[in-house]
Symmetry: C2
């Protein structure tokens, strides 16, 4: 039986990250993490007719490469958890139409990768799935169409605005330790715990400052996790959030300080994906594909190599829509957390 303390589930049986893959677009290929991506596309249409179908293709490609790396086929996938930012999550729905595996659709905005990893771990530890897949994506152009003005309009971006990543990440989770040897690694990556978040809303209404809307959610989930696990930030090599951007990250540090927690080892996926100096992304990257691709191109490889041994991955989501924004509603935020550990085998 798992241990359930407060809002946090501690996995007693080993739940491993068996494989992972990151795919991205042109801008991601020009960023500092490009070397860690499994595939990069110069054409953001990926040869499709629409941006929306291109985003589905990103998910499809990420899953294909993730399974390839684990020497697995689609038939080995018991269940897939997927989500994205499009209305009615169509990037995932159309990707899953092609993949044809049992599919549980999620919506957690940019928090979806942590949400789906937590669910994968529950399914694998509990014996409800042998191999579970977590996949999320975003696409700059589909997000602009969904949430902002048409691209052709050429609207000005505020300094606090974030750049939606054109990227997808896929992670294959398993309860079976033995099979991870397929990947011939010296280390295995374990999912040790998961905290599913509660919605936080401190009345931020500025759709160009979503970092500020999500920072309180990241802080709330982190505080709950530290309380439930009786651990503290210094117990971890790094604490990754995704995607608060520069402004949201500064706010997180401030909010945590007020709660009496000093975060000195914090990094944000939105600040890692692009170069602040060389790329025009204002406050940083965002989108369900940003934290997913930073996880799969940067964090998981470092855990696998043993460079990192214990980290928290806290993905944050801004839960508004264009309609709720235009109706004057404030932006609710949520953050889900997974604890990841590298273990020598």
């Amino acid at each position: 039986m798992p241990q359930h303390i407060g809002d946090t589930i501690f996995f007693e049986k080993p739940v491993t990250v068996k494989s992972y893959a990151a795919v991205g677009g042109k801008k991601e290929g020009e960023g500092p993490l490009a070397f860690g991506f499994d595939a990069l596309f110069k054409d953001n249409y990926l040869g499709k007719d629409t941006w929306e179908m291109a985003e589905s293709a990103l998910q499809h490609k990420a899953v294909e490469l993730c399974l390839q790396k684990a020497c697995h086929k689609l038939k080995d996938v018991s269940v897939a958890f997927a989500g994205d930012l499009q209305a009615q999550c169509t990037a995932s729905n159309y990707a899953m139409r092609e993949l044809g595996v049992p599919f549980i659709g999620l919506y957690g905005a940019c928090s979806t990768m942590a949400e789906s990893l937590g669910l994968c771990a529950v399914f694998c530890e509990g014996g409800y799935a042998k191999n579970a897949l977590a996949v999320t994506s975003s696409h700059f152009c589909t997000a602009e169409r969904e949430f902002r003005t048409p691209l052709d309009y050429g609207g000005k971006r505020t300094p606090s605005a974030q750049w939606t990543a054109t990227a997808a990440g896929a992670v294959l989770v398993s309860a079976c330790m033995q099979e991870t040897e397929i990947t011939k690694s010296k280390n295995i990556i374990l999912i040790k715990a998961a905290t599913f978040g509660r919605v936080q809303d401190l009345s931020v209404c500025d759709i160009n400052n979503m970092g500020a809307a999500m920072a309180p959610a990241a802080a709330a989930t982190l505080c709950r996790y530290f309380k439930d696990s009786k651990q503290m930030p210094s117990d971890f090599d790094l604490i990754f959030t995704g995607d608060l951007g520069a402004f949201g990250s500064a706010l997180l540090i401030e909010v945590m300080e007020r709660e009496g927690v000093i975060l000195q080892n914090h990094q944000d996926c939105g600040c890692l994906l692009y170069s602040k100096e060389k790329q025009t992304v204002n406050a940083g990257g965002s989108g369900a594909g940003c934290s997913a691709s930073v996880l799969t191109s940067y964090i998981l490889p470092k855990l696998k190599s043993g460079e990192l041994s214990k980290v928290l991955f806290v993905a944050t989501g801004a839960l508004m829509s264009q309609t709720s924004f235009l109706q004057g509603e404030s932006i609710p935020g949520i953050a889900h957390l997974v604890e990841l550990e590298s273990k020598a085998i």
Copy 2:
């Protein structure tokens, strides 16, 4: 450990439906199931400024009544699974902002109630939650704004079009048998199995005939379940789908016949919620709140009273968006299934 055969999870430990509630709008209050609803609102705004916020209020009310009936408080809820049809699932997000419980956001279109019930059962049986909440909603006016033309336009509806229900349903699931006695019933309702569906797409592009787009998904999930469980339709009192409507239901019977399965005990939530004779709903009801409210106002009460003893609840979803429809994409369908049983205590 649960048994996992094919795509179906068989719960070995008892997972019970502890409580449930249905709320609806004006049209639902004039329909044949009105007597089973826990609350009905004559004003589809529910006193809110927007239809979108009214839909959130429907979810909130359904949860409030569901917990009241089980003598539970919000603090007793370990996790809530919720979803709706709005872009970025804002009806759920804003409802969860008020409720403040750990929240896992889902998108499964009209299949969301079965998807969330299956997840609740996994979390409760596996020891990941003590009490898990499933809640879904839809609202006629928010769905028209989301998927079709503005209401004021007064567009004509085709005979195969379905009417999106203004309704929500909430179900509290628990692994604890003893506590169900709070509800002082002679019978308990058990969730015995769940099948998470795979996306099916037979190239239906008509957004006014979603029953046709979803019927193959219902057939596929039913066939998988019958194969995995070695049961047949006659093993059940009734097999409920939601929401195929009149056209989709006829198609389901036809598709199943071609697969060699005769469905004589089938009822569709979309055909049950409204009166075909007295209410203008064309092919029947639809929406994530339709199957949810028929489940909680009609199916679960009949299981609780012992009038029904063994049923399948197969909720179906059409996974397109207005954008994918306008781009000429066909409509992918999905169906998730839960097996429900009434047991005397």
